[in-house]
């Protein structure tokens, strides 16, 4: 009880303490500063200074985080816009028309929306059992495998793709749909295993045992007890998979060219060869699924599901 309110008092105390150390994180009423009764005038000045510093920090963060995206979004609708004008002279939708009338771009959009769900589904099917095994069983080599999984993440992707090309040639996967799926899948394996594994570990074994006790078989226990409880984390992992696949460009380019050019792959060409406005429009389009999905899963991502997965146990 009173946890929240207590957090607030604590917070105020911390704020003042931290600020008196010179680290300014935001403004707060000077009356709550401990030094206030002793040195009233200086405290007032300091309080005001802190409030200003806090606002400056927020503004800087806002500009740094949102600025680039907002600026780009503005470009997507701008006509003539010359430096150093703060906003475009006239507005137009010509960039949008150009994108939607270009068959290449339309095709790449369709391809992206085909690959991402397939890769996500494949990754889920392949990785979930492994995640469960990592969390529930202590088998020899478990830690070694977990660390190896991590190590694969450390090898630079470009180097990997170049070398992978050799393997793909010999397996006749170059330029095929399956090849692109595999190359995108590779980038999702690590977190598709780690995040659900952490979620499975967080479920008390007794919940599963209780279900077994009332007569449920192992599969039923998994689908009726374990899976629903781990669902938020699995959802986060799936969304990250979807986005990783949707976002993947170099591997897809190397393996898929010339048959399969997805949106992010197209983006590289676009940046170099098209008017800025078209690239801006295409960027907005490419960002839509991510924004929708992440907004959907925001609560779970913020709730630590993502972070949990990165502790090696």
């Amino acid at each position: 009880m009173g946890k929240r309110a207590h957090g607030q008092t604590l917070g105020v105390a911390v704020m003042s303490a931290i600020e008196s150390e010179g680290v300014v994180l935001g403004g707060l009423p000077e009356a709550q500063l401990p030094a206030a009764p002793l040195r009233p005038r200086r405290a007032v000045v300091r309080g005001a200074a802190h409030r200003i510093a806090g606002v400056v920090f927020i503004v800087c963060l806002l500009v740094f985080m949102i600025g680039p995206i907002a600026w780009l979004a503005l470009r997507a609708f701008s006509g003539l816009w010359q430096y150093p004008q703060l906003y475009p002279k006239d507005w137009t939708l010509s960039g949008w028309r150009q994108v939607f009338n270009d068959p290449n771009l339309r095709h790449s959009m369709r391809l992206s929306f085909e690959f991402a769900p397939i890769v996500t589904a494949a990754s889920t099917v392949i990785c979930l059992p492994a995640a469960y095994a990592f969390s529930r069983y202590r088998f020899p080599g478990r830690r070694f495998l977990l660390i190896s999984l991590f190590a694969t993440n450390a090898f630079p992707k470009i180097g990997l793709y170049i070398s992978m090309a050799g393997v793909f040639y010999s397996l006749n996967l170059m330029g095929t749909f399956l090849g692109v799926v595999i190359v995108q899948l590779i980038g999702t394996v690590v977190f598709m295993t780690w995040i659900p594994a952490a979620a499975f570990s967080a479920i008390p074994r007794s919940l599963e045992e209780a279900a077994r006790d009332v007569g449920a078989g192992p599969l039923r226990v998994f689908f009726r007890v374990t899976f629903p409880l781990a669902a938020p984390a699995i959802l986060v992992a799936m969304i990250l998979s979807f986005l990783a696949s949707f976002d993947e460009a170099q591997g897809t380019f190397l393996v898929g060219v010339p048959n399969y050019i997805t949106m992010p792959t197209e983006m590289y060409t676009l940046v170099l060869n098209y008017p800025e406005q078209v690239a801006a429009v295409f960027s907005i389009l490419l960002a839509i699924p991510s924004v929708v999905l992440m907004a959907f899963a925001r609560k779970h991502v913020m709730g630590g599901r993502l972070a949990e997965g990165f502790q090696l146990r």
Binding site: A17, P68, Q250
Partner: protein, 287 residues
């Protein structure tokens, strides 16, 4: 149950990595034959190994500059991401206000945006006709430098991309510190800065290590951000690799660079594993 992903990893990552190492050491057989048959300026031996490819590329002055650029950008980005995410997470842990919620919402925005878009947006934002230059111009700084296509722009871009992970990890770690541990320290006479130093900092070592190592590894191997926002040379090793492969048609040299980055990343990764194991021992959770 573990077999399918392990098999996928082994066939499509493990095997290629081993092949890549063999290729850089001069062995062009097996899976390397296709690449080797197309590449130029290769150092091939039939028996034993040769380090000529390493010698060739590591004596290249351009690569030296790229290597230093990579190391510096990695260090700066890692330090900034750790510091900023610590500050934000600490603020979020200790306050619950609209300000805190706004900051927390702002700091995860990049998670929503594909890296290609982010890189492009950042380039445009800091370009010669971008927002920063425009605002600087209106504020009277007519000679404000253009950041687009510089290593500074790469650094800013990498920070932008890595902040959400940092904030999420740090927040999760700090939220895992129970309130009563903080209160117990206050009760013992600790001021708030002291609580941060003696309780929150040491109890949040693992998340800090995770953020630092993953950020560093990400930056070391990154391609999109430096490729789109960085200068032609010196740039990070990611774009250099792509250059050696695509533009110069020297796949062996590209692979050598990949191995160099891999070795650096593994060194950083070792810190992550060590920190996890060490903490596991102390808390009695050793598996």
């Amino acid at each position: 149950m573990v077999l399918p992903p392990v098999a996928v990893i082994a066939v499509f990552i493990g095997f290629p990595v081993v092949a890549a190492i063999a290729y850089t050491l001069g062995r062009a057989g097996g899976p390397n034959s296709v690449v080797a048959s197309l590449g130029q300026r290769q150092f091939i031996v039939q028996k034993g190994v040769t380090f000529d490819a390493y010698r060739d590329i590591l004596s290249n002055p351009t690569i030296h500059r790229d290597l230093w650029a990579t190391v510096w950008v990695t260090i700066v980005v890692t330090l900034v991401v750790v510091a900023v995410s610590w500050a934000i997470a600490l603020y979020l842990r200790l306050t619950d206000s609209w300000l805190a919620r706004t900051i927390s919402a702002l700091s995860v925005v990049p998670l929503f945006i594909p890296v290609v878009i982010a890189s492009y947006a950042i380039l445009v934002f800091y370009a010669s006709d971008g927002f920063i230059k425009t605002v600087a111009y209106h504020l009277g700084f007519h000679g404000f430098p253009t950041l687009g296509y510089t290593l500074t722009c790469v650094t800013l871009g990498e920070i932008w991309v890595n902040i959400p992970f940092g904030v999420l990890m740090m927040s999760s770690g700090l939220n895992g510190v129970p309130n009563n541990l903080i209160e117990a320290a206050r009760d013992s006479g600790a001021t708030m800065p002291r609580v941060v130093r003696s309780i929150l900092l040491p109890m949040n070592v693992i998340p800090t290590v995770i953020v630092a190592t993953f950020t560093a590894i990400y930056v070391l191997g990154s391609f999109t951000v430096p490729y789109l926002t960085g200068p032609t040379a010196p740039n990070l090793l990611g774009p250099s690799m792509a250059n050696f492969f695509n533009s110069f048609n020297q796949p062996q040299q590209a692979e050598v660079l990949a191995i160099v980055v891999f070795v650096l990343a593994l060194g950083i990764g070792a810190v992550y594993v060590w920190a996890n194991v060490r903490t596991g021992r102390r808390s009695g959770l050793q598996s």
